[in-house]
Amino acid sequence: MVDEKTIKGALDKKGAYGADLDLDSYEQGTRTPDKVDDMESSDYRRYMENVGVVADEINRAGTLMFIDNGMSHCSTSVQEGLEMSSLSDALKRHPDLKDYFWKAMDPTKDKYTAKSYLEDADGYFIRVKSGYTIKNPVQTCMLLNRDKSIQNVHNIIIVEDNASLEMITGCSTAHHANDSLHIGVSEIYVGDNSNLTFSMIHSWGKMTGVRPRTNCVVGKNSNYTNNYVIMNPVGSLQSFPVATLGEGSSATYNTVCIAHEGSDIDTGGMVNLNGYGSKAEIMSRSISMGGRMCARGRLVGNSPGVKAHLECRSIILKDGGSTLAVPELEAHVADVEMTHEAAVGKIARDQIEYLMSRGLDEDQAVSMIVRGFLSGSINGLPEALQKELDSAIEKANLGD
């Protein structure tokens, strides 16, 4: 383990990507927020529902909510195989959980991880025990409720062997907490022959800073899917989750983003294909509506039999914005098959006119193509997420 002094030193370490945010310009968020017993009658309901968290909890295995830096709600209808609580409570119950702390994530990665480590941030703990398949998704909600403050959370998710979990995690900002910062460290452990789908839907304020740090370690013959959706304006968002795969495992990243005017989004992800025959696919669909959009993808082949593909597609709808695709392939053995495609530009005129020849006006045609580009071109999204994505696209201001 790295010593505390080195970690303190990392408080000055800029992130590898994205604008450098000044941690000292924010205050600390509270660790004792309002308790929310009944989600349906809660004042926070509208913020949750913006990001795919359903208040009636129908078709959900459980719900966990954090407001600022403390847990506000935790409920589950699943009797066996699923454990949900705050991380601090979980550690009291299982002292050996400490072995999972800061194993998937290096606390000295940058100032944001260092801050989370040094403040011993609380967060959620979710574990699916070996042999259990949790049928409905678990939903978590992270709400930033205080302006000029930092939400600093540290989550641990464990899906043991022969187990399966789907998570929908919605993050949002209350209207009055626009100029704030979210730091969310998530360490994820997936065992052998298991599945985890981890879907994040974000809706922040126009000035909010967002620095999620998500690393996942995957065992043998397992599948890990990471979906990321952001349709609303945000200040500065930078995220680059990293997955490390064992033998025969696969990882899929799907990212769907709109960079509105004033938004600076730098997103994507990395997969280390360490196990024999492991597979990865990184897909990204983004639109610049006047904001800055950067889509990254990095695939590292470290073992024979690896197969991986990366695809970044980006459309610029409005002048004044920019888009950058950074696809990277790296291999350290001969027997790998790794490919990428990247395309950046405007919508092809022939597509617009084809739809116009069916009677749509130009704006309607553009809007239909953009909606299709965002919602339809990624295959295999979980049903609940596809619904949320479609509704987010519906609500997003696409200029029509």
Binding site: R349, S357, R358, G359
Partner: protein, 238 residues
Amino acid sequence: MTDMLKIVDLHAQAGEREILKGVNLTVKEGETCVLFGPNGSGKSTLMATIMGYSTIKVTSGQILFKGQDITGMSVDQRAKLGIGMMMQRPPNIFGVKLGDLIRSTSDIGDEILKDADSFKMEKFLDREVNVGFSGGEIKRSELLQLTAQRPEFILLDEPESGVDLEIIDLIGNKTRDLLNYKMGEDGRHVSSLVITHTGQILNYIDADLAYIMKAGRITAEGKPLEFLKEIRENGYGE
């Protein structure tokens, strides 16, 4: 009969190259006209110009539709006036399902979609528009869309090209149904301009008049089947 479409001394270019060099052509109300011509004579360009595609720039001349000058109108304005087109190679529209496109562009979309199996398209309604479609699937998809769109004047660019023999009957019959559709209370048929290379489509539809186009101009007009026989025997005389 009044004129549905009248093209007067139309000059148009693609990029810097002039393709249409003074086209004169008329399609009367309720008439089906065939457009023959060698490859590269400008037939598809003429259709794209009538539809208003921006790849083609009109430099002089006029396109009149039901007496109204549409030369400067946008594609959707022309579609709303009642012009529809079957493209030979329509673009892929990723993420947009064929069924959704038809529903959102046609008031009778739902009704037509119930009949999708007669176009052998029922399995394609949840597919992205044109993505991975074969030649024959594209034709059937275009015919289904046009049937839902119900244009008064239809441009068909080689409806039989790239189609397997076993499906040609279906394409031919659906094309005939489309052209035989009776508009309005007076019961007249829709009007159309049909490009055909092989003439195969004429086994299914009754054409009233044929034009021959060469090097960007209409060089002859006459009876479709006589022209076809002549072209089959002697080519275009080049």
